[in-house]
């Protein structure tokens, strides 16, 4: 697929630039730019250099362990893996559908997760770039800098994330790595105490989320030359939507929309994903490259996540977020937005939607009482698809008669965006690299482009750690001619 991303006629004459590792993303990645003699970026590769192998080591484990094991993939959105696994295994235990209580508890947990993850990404990881500029000193361009310069924004960001985490704790049992979703249902109710505590703050969270959307919108309107063009990578968009076309993050059917807005595929049942999507493998990355099978690898790659979801749905079923979606569409005159930084705007619209959903769901008596578990005829396999904060997340399991997992397949959100991220890196590098010198500015711009996708490289393959930035400029002979190192 996309051969111009990764092949060159005379590879020996290319110069190699590596950004390793990339900071303020979840997990470890590395970027290599191969330059030709004219100093033009000929190839761009986002390498995912780590390997985790969850799919292999959960084979042979009993199915009821799986929602708890697989969430250890990630410390940022474990809830998404927890729920996707439980949803898939509902089919295995015949709990289709689960009870109203189970469905609502899981939904509430999920929207808590969307809220906290989007708040974390925007305020803690991305806002320093947007508020101070990509080339601001590293010492300022971090969350501590935001706290110093914009204390109200920082306070609201921290508060929104905290609230999301509290929703998760109240529904999952813990803020991180809870155990409430089990195959067939849920193992707890929402307590009245937790419900009341969350309700007391729910309106404030909606208001703060509105302010966050307004902030990103102002940034776009203030500098359209940057925001509309930076890392712009036109592509199809994929996400779940509800049967009536509404935004739906917990359950639904797959929809694919073309780069110019035409619905290409609609109402694809999530359990048909294996016919719908093919995963290509590249020798230089552990992360696969999915594409829509019948469109082929050249035309069939797509973006997922907030930017896809906000533009793929026909409407958002909460009023404040829907108004912001309309403003988002009106900003581009109805055209589909593909610029990397538009992800942030879409992400904040989704955060507002999540805050509204949480506020509206909390008084529901099904959360505090009612049947928690359902069961029915056993099935040998199940597929669970959910819109995780970063995009469409697919879990698929086969379970033997002896209750052990025989086979599993996980396609995580970041993987779907692999091609788009590679293209965004190349687009930015081609515009910013002068061909002679490695500048901090170039590296910052490439990182900002990748960060916009909020990639979870741990989910895609590996683990979290401190990520200082090391950049090496290597000539075609393997000689390091320039190096920059800074601490993350």
């Amino acid at each position: 697929m996309s051969s111009d991303l990764e092949t060159a006629a005379n590879r020996d004459t290319l110069r190699r630039v590596a950004i390793d590792p990339i900071s303020r993303v979840e997990g470890h990645g590395k970027v290599t730019l191969l330059l030709d003699e004219a100093g033009q970026v000929h190839e761009a590769r986002l390498h995912i250099v780590e390997f985790r192998g969850f799919e292999a080591f959960i084979e042979g484990r009993p199915y009821w362990e799986i929602p708890v094991i697989v969430q250890r993939l990630c410390g940022i959105c474990p809830v998404s893996h927890h729920l996707a696994a439980a949803k898939a295994l509902d089919y295995v235990v015949g709990a289709v559908p689960v009870t109203a209580t189970a469905d609502k508890m899981r939904r509430l947990m999920h929207y808590g997760q969307i809220l906290q993850s989007h708040a974390l990404h925007f305020f803690h990881l991305a806002s320093p770039d947007l508020l101070f500029g990509f080339d601001a000193p590293v010492a300022q361009r971090n969350i501590a800098g935001v706290i110093a310069a914009h204390p109200d924004i920082a306070r609201q960001g921290v508060g929104l994330r905290r609230f999301g985490q509290q929703v998760i704790a109240a529904t999952a049992g813990k803020r991180i790595h809870g155990t409430a979703a089990v195959p067939g249902g849920i193992n707890r109710h929402l307590s009245a105490t937790d419900r009341d505590a969350l309700l007391a703050e729910a309106d404030t969270m909606v208001a703060w989320s509105q302010a966050a959307v307004a902030l990103v919108r102002r940034l776009h309107e203030a500098d359209p030359a940057l925001y509309d063009r930076f890392g712009c990578v036109p592509s199809s968009l994929m996400s779940l939507v509800r049967a009536d076309g509404a935004m739906e993050l917990y359950d639904g059917q797959l929809r694919l929309r073309s780069a110019d807005g035409e619905v290409l595929r609609d109402a694809v049942p999530s359990h048909d994903y294996m016919d719908f999507i093919t995963e290509a493998v590249k020798p230089w990355s552990y992360m696969k490259f999915p594409y829509v099978t019948d469109l082929g690898p050249e035309a069939g790659w797509y973006k997922v996540g907030p930017l896809a979801r906000v533009q793929n749905c026909d409407f958002i079923p909460t009023p404040l977020a829907e108004a912001e979606r309309r403003a988002f569409r009106a900003y581009s005159g109805g055209a589909i937005q593909h610029a990397s930084l538009a992800y942030h705007w879409a992400r904040m619209i989704e955060m507002l939607h999540a805050a509204e959903v949480i506020r509206d769901m909390l008084p529901d008596p099904d959360l505090t009482g009612g049947e928690r578990m359902a069961e029915g005829p056993r099935a040998a396999s199940g597929v669970g698809v959910i819109e995780a904060p970063r995009g469409t997340l697919i879990h698929h399991y086969w379970v033997g008669d002896d209750d052990l997992v025989r086979w599993c397949n996980l396609i995580v959100s970041t993987t779907h965006n692999n091609e788009a991220m590679n293209r965004a890196v190349r687009e930015v590098a081609r515009r910013e690299l002068d061909g002679q010198t490695l500048t901090e500015g170039l590296l910052n711009h490439i990182e900002v482009a990748i960060r916009a996708y909020d990639p979870c490289l741990s989910c895609a393959t590996h683990a979290l750690g401190k990520m200082p930035l090391e950049v090496r400029l290597v000539d075609a002979g393997g000689q390091c001619v320039a190096q920059k190192v800074r601490n993350g």
Binding site: P62, W64, E65, P67, V68, R72, G178, T179, V182, D403
Partner: protein, 238 residues
Amino acid sequence: MSQPTFLLDGQSVPFDDGQMILEAARAAGRYIPHLCWHPDFPPHGSCKLCVVKVAGRHVSACATPARAGAEVESDTPEINTERRTLLQMLFVEGNHFCPACEKSGDCQLQAMAYDLEMTTPRFRHFFPDRPVDASHPEVLLDFNRCIYCELCVRASREQDGKAVFALTGRGINKKLAVNAESGRLADTDFAANDKAAHICPVGVILKKRVGFAVPIGERTYDRAPLHEVALPKLEGDT
């Protein structure tokens, strides 16, 4: 004639003739850590967690008869350090991954690690790779969590009259085995209501399809620490 007594960490503990130190302490409401000891079975003396110091010697409290006037040291830094080391060795011998283990919160090994403030396994992990036995329709065996207490072996033999389980191999190669030609639990007369099905202190013998039905945080050792749960209910307790 008054009942004889010994001193446990300086406090007087009465005992009956022939009673072991651990039993007498327990009857008096005093906890001495143990994993392989069980009130329904004779002392086994394999886990060594009940180690105490008597007259300068380190002995198993479960298998050492109480003696009048003896001075027994149990809850001391020296003895608890030894117990922690034993625990650490048990943790690295098996695959004790509490975060994803369905026995978490009901596991005596985990509860004891909390009780004795074990913060790290310290030693190199063995990472055993023994296949799960899921052949039985009601019960699953995860051999990688065995601590060789032989409670299932003893329960099956002495209470169920079946001899379903056995330890095979020696030393570092010791492992739990199922007493069938195929080695599969389904090929034995094991039943889910056997005593042996309910006695495992860790996560080896598990009733199938239960998993995380009880939330973490509401389990046995989430509600009270092991040193309280392990003591018999005394008169007047609620």
